[in-house]
Symmetry: C2
Subunit: 410 residues, 2 copies
């Protein structure tokens, strides 16, 4: 199973992306996703204590609806965060506008996502007009437009799809989605968002479990501060239009391929976010092996991936292994420095060992320089402290990043 | 009590800083500090799992000597980290060379500190020659030369002194020291080092306790990754030359002023390190109040101070309060976002409130721009979650930082 070269629409879903004028430009800024039928809905939200109004609204909605929903409305330009009671009312009004426009029978059918400037209120007149336009333009192939409408500092829209046929069946299942996020780093345009959908039928508790598991090895493994912005949200809707029986338990034969598809999709979207980091010039993959458990491996990997010293060295094409070891050593994970092994490499090339048993190797500097000068660079650190591993995706830290983030908001 | 405008020598100590050729330039790179008498010695070391040879050597020495020492030798250019058994032997040899040059009676009298490139071995011939020169040049006023010799990417040598007369006495006590470190950020030239000395007489366990306490509100409150590099070391030697009775217990009347002097000195040196960060254009002070306890306040402050988004905004003269609240919210400290208050200010000016009760205030943008355009900027965040507070010092993140850190090692 693998993600597809071209994006596939998901049966029973329609999408659109339009401009309603929330930004200062004429770029699209309102996206709508709607299902022909009520869906099981799984969601993961930011762990930041400071949570935007749409996050609070969606949490409450999914609790009331027993994890059911039928549409998602997203806006860019305004995060609707730190906006108090008014912000909550605006999120609710936005949902109501969509529900009426789509004539959805259920009161709690519409999830709301926002990204953009913190502290500013939504212009509800523009939202009202925009919801009408977005509804009129809904179409099965509208996902790329929706992906476009939620971009902030992203340099390209992010989408991916997976299609598979469960064993013992001749019906194809589609799992696909869109995302936004500007790498480790987001200016006022805080937030990563991802909305995924499938025509599989999956019971809500199991859908939530599948999303939670897939998230562990995808969005939690990029340094997007995935668990830290005010608006971060990952959604997965399942409408069951494919006609196969509902998957209800992890022991169902249909669960494993579904889980694999969701994981592949999440990882693909997560990589797109990490590698589109502001000012990024390199796509960096950090694999940590030999850890006591997955969380330890992830923690070491994220500490390396978050280190400004490691990231600037990679930007400077410098295979500076001392910085990598230094970052690993402060991750709070126990290991014996004398057992560390570090190698650097690229897809489809044997890797070059830089450190063995905690000490530098006599390295072919020309080969090291050649490897690190490429756009894709992989680091592999073995801790020699167990059998678990994790893979982290990130980008380098460049002059352009400073420029993007030092600009005035106005 | 306050730190002094000009640096004061410490009675009974001599210092020197010379060039022994470890660097590629002719800049001084070897410093020596020697006391006329054996000293109580307190030390704090990096918490990084990857620890340089001199750190391992000093730890073992202080354990053998019951926290006594009489000299400190420091080199820049080579960190002697990730150098295995040979590194440990080199640290030991360096100490022996100094002990013989100074004709010190005790076997375990010399502490060793190194800073510079990780993974490269020390050139022991150069060290041997250098130790001879440094010994010949020892003098009471040699501290500034020593401070110069331990600089790496520092833009200026760092030293400070405090002088006070304990109550009920007419004898002045001096507490003074030198430090190095390039702010939050250190390239191959990893590490912050600080060596302080006093002519007070203080029992070794109490000296260690005083240093530990002073460190809490000084070196632990800057984003130098004070607890994270392979070589970070803070030393305090007390030789008792002032002639006052030894301070043995926290209840001694002489302890409180001594503790105050050590704290002032540590805070002064810590600020110098934080504000000399690579590429820094601003001196930033972050005060967090209303926290459940000091550690919580420190954690929130350090999360804000470490945020690339906050630091680039300050570099861009942007009073971007949303980024500050976002960073606070992911610090892992519980608080109610609806009670947050944020103000911005400068020394000797009333501060300007940007956020109250978690929501933005109508701010005089001109005044905000005027405040933030200055070289010294103070942020004050109240969590509304207790009575504890902490102050953190840091610098902004500029284009120049990327340039400094993206350069090749060679």
């Amino acid at each position: 199973m693998k993600t597809q070269e071209t994006f596939r629409a998901i049966p029973g879903f329609r999408a659109s992306g339009i401009c309603c004028g929330l930004r200062k430009t004429t770029a699209p800024d309102l996206a709508l996703i709607a299902s022909d039928r009520p869906c099981s809905a799984a969601a993961l939200f930011t762990r930041n204590l400071v949570q935007a109004a749409p996050v609070l609204y969606d949490r409450a909605l999914l609790s009331r609806s027993n994890r059911q929903a039928q549409a998602v409305v997203m806006n860019a330009g305004i995060a609707n965060a730190c906006t108090g009671e008014q912000g909550l009312r605006d999120a609710e009004t936005t949902a109501s506008l969509v529900r009426r426009a789509l004539a959805l029978p259920h009161e709690d059918a519409v999830l709301v996502l926002s990204t953009g400037v913190i502290g500013a209120p939504l212009d509800m007149d523009k939202i009202a007009t925009g919801v009408g336009t977005a509804t009129a333009q809904l179409q099965p192939d509208g996902w790329p437009s929706a992906a476009q409408a939620i971009m902030t500092t992203d340099t390209h829209p992010k989408m991916a799809s997976v299609r598979y046929t469960p064993p013992g069946s001749d019906t194809a299942v589609t799992v696909a989605g869109i995302a936004k996020g500007a790498g480790m780093i987001h200016p006022d345009m805080a937030t990563m968002l991802a909305v995924m959908a499938t025509d599989a039928a999956v019971a809500p508790p199991l859908l939530q479990e599948a999303l939670r598991r897939a998230n562990q090895t995808s969005f939690r493994c990029i340094t997007v501060d995935g668990d830290t912005s005010t608006n971060d949200t990952v959604l997965l809707l399942a409408n069951g239009v494919c006609g196969l029986p509902e998957i209800r338990d992890t022991t169902d034969a249909a669960y494993a391929p579904f889980m694999e598809a969701v994981t592949l999709l999440c990882q693909n979207l997560a990589r797109q976010i990490a590698w589109d980091g502001e000012g990024a010039t390199k796509q960096i993959t950090i694999r940590v092996t030999g850890a006591p458990d997955f969380e330890a491996a992830r923690r070491v990997g994220r500490t390396i991936a978050s280190s400004p010293l490691v990231k600037t060295a990679l930007y400077g094409n410098d295979a500076n292994w001392g910085r990598v070891l230094g970052a690993a050593g402060r991750a709070g994970v126990p290991f014996d420095p004398a057992r560390l092994r570090l190698a650097i490499g690229q897809p489809a090339q044997p890797s070059l060992e830089l450190v063995r048993n905690g000490q530098p190797r006599d390295v072919d500097e020309e080969r090291a320089a050649q490897i690190i000068a490429q756009k894709e660079v992989a680091l592999h650190l073995d801790l020699g402290a167990g059998t678990a591993e994790a893979t982290i995706w990130t980008c380098d830290l460049s002059h352009e990043y400073i420029s993007v983030n030092a600009e005035y908001r106005t």
